[in-house]
Symmetry: C2
Subunit: 361 residues, 2 copies
Amino acid sequence: MDRMITVNVELGERAYPIHIGADLIGQTALFAPHIAGSSVTIVTNTTVDPLYGDTLRAALAPLGKQVSTVILPDGEAHKNLATLNLIFDALLGSRADRKTTLIALGGGVIGDMTGFAAACYMRGVPFIQVPTTLLSQVDSSVGGKTGINHPLGKNMIGAFYQPQAVIADIGALRTLPARELAAGVAEVIKTGAIADAGFFNWIEANIDALNRCEPEALTEAVKRSCEIKASVVAQDEREGGLRAILNFGHTFGHAIEAGLGYGEWLHGEAVGCGMAMAADLSVRMGYLEEAARRRLVDVIVAAHLPTRAPALGEAHYVELMQVDKKAEAGAIKFILLKRFGETLITQAPDAEVHATLAAAV
Amino acid sequence: MDRMITVNVELGERAYPIHIGADLIGQTALFAPHIAGSSVTIVTNTTVDPLYGDTLRAALAPLGKQVSTVILPDGEAHKNLATLNLIFDALLGSRADRKTTLIALGGGVIGDMTGFAAACYMRGVPFIQVPTTLLSQVDSSVGGKTGINHPLGKNMIGAFYQPQAVIADIGALRTLPARELAAGVAEVIKTGAIADAGFFNWIEANIDALNRCEPEALTEAVKRSCEIKASVVAQDEREGGLRAILNFGHTFGHAIEAGLGYGEWLHGEAVGCGMAMAADLSVRMGYLEEAARRRLVDVIVAAHLPTRAPALGEAHYVELMQVDKKAEAGAIKFILLKRFGETLITQAPDAEVHATLAAAV
């Protein structure tokens, strides 16, 4: 499998390409067009740098740029202001200027933090995403959402900021732990469920190939997910309306993550369970047929994702969901499913929400 | 003096009005059109809240919004990530949502930090500037530059983010210490010097009235300064080129501030001295006539601003200027004066820079 596919995210002057294929991290030609200044700072973590840091630095070497590397601690628990400041310290310490390009080499946490650092450093410098997890390849590398967590809420501090390019190396997924692969499949399932019944059928048929990390299946899943997300984002860059559908499963999922403490469950695991809960609420409110909910839960289970929620207490769940960014004046907005490919955004009666919470534990 | 003047900053969908006049903080009607959500968070400091906090809260009361106040420590020394985080803590603690409006009540530090917090909180919420110092009325309230300092450089972390409106209450300047008034006059002088010879003549003729805090003179100075800056910013919102001329005096000035430690000299004092240094360099490089330099220095002195630079060592000055945001790959860009109303941006030979530094101490 040597083909490379490119998905273009159409955002006018902020448009950028997503290159998808095997062993792309080492290809100088993919980086060359996107690095204008004289220096590059790679931001990565203690897990990814030993795996792909040297490959990336070797790819950059022929470009003759000054290259430095910032190695952050690994994990969602470090996606905070203190770790962000380590990036700023490194940039100022290496005299990074307004034309310095940041390269995010790692998963969603690295991508979100590096993107936010790029948005804020000198009020904005260019950056390139090199996502090394399935989750970040299908999700956080498309759409320009960057940011960090706050103890009271996930991604509460951030910016909309687009990369110059995304280099999604399918080969990097070979070293991904099974649990992280499954967490990425959760977002693939979500994308099919909300936007494309045909793609959802494809996922059901190919779930075992995805679990086995087969390159052809992964390439197709990343391509279709990126195309769908890119189309939604192009229509609603700053989340005025349509884009909110991408948060299917995330209202419950964010509450799980915040309630357990970030990093306890992976984001994709929480979204997997959150989708099962959102589907349950969709059935209770009369929008979705039980058979469709069952199909969704079956594919979540087949992806080795959790469908039973942790027992945080119903009142605490509601409290956590009220600080969701979609909430307004404390009113929670849910993304619900009508059928595969069709969603609606609505508030829900307390009784139905509590029934879903009670059934999910 | 009861007239209110409005300057419109023309930035397309990000356009906003600057209202200038006496006793505007108490006028409900000025705030009403700009607060869409159900809650407001006032960000102010320990000096300004006792002076104007109650007036502002009384003005907001008829709007029926939930109003909370965050009171930060006063001073440039607190314009950092830790203080910024106090704003986020307060916003999340009071369940601020995406439609919560932040109101910056204070000087440039409060305005820059509140604007940056508004840019980042949930990836962007609306904010209103209520600048209570002359400096912030003429300078930081126009142009959308927000941010915080880093130990290695001023305003190194931030965003371009426009307010919904600016309410510049000339009456608030009555409580301004003389030293802070002078610091504001520095930016007024700068604006005349770089962009409008007629306005520079007006400043020379009215410098004593400005020093005496006469409302008519202050209103005119704020209006002309905002008009000029708004015109420059409208042509170059993200500082691609023209806008850099607004940094006249700032390359030397920022080095003074960073070298002494933020807060030792006021920003406007550093800019006053920095303009004298930039004019000296302009003469040495053959761009400016000595007589014009003399006129500029005379008006800086008449405004009770420093023109002698602190002895930081020439090498340290150069080092500090190399981290200026205008620098590229360590090459320092200077904004120099050709005549009143005309500038150029250029690098300068080391020998000339050192001569200016030696002469300035």
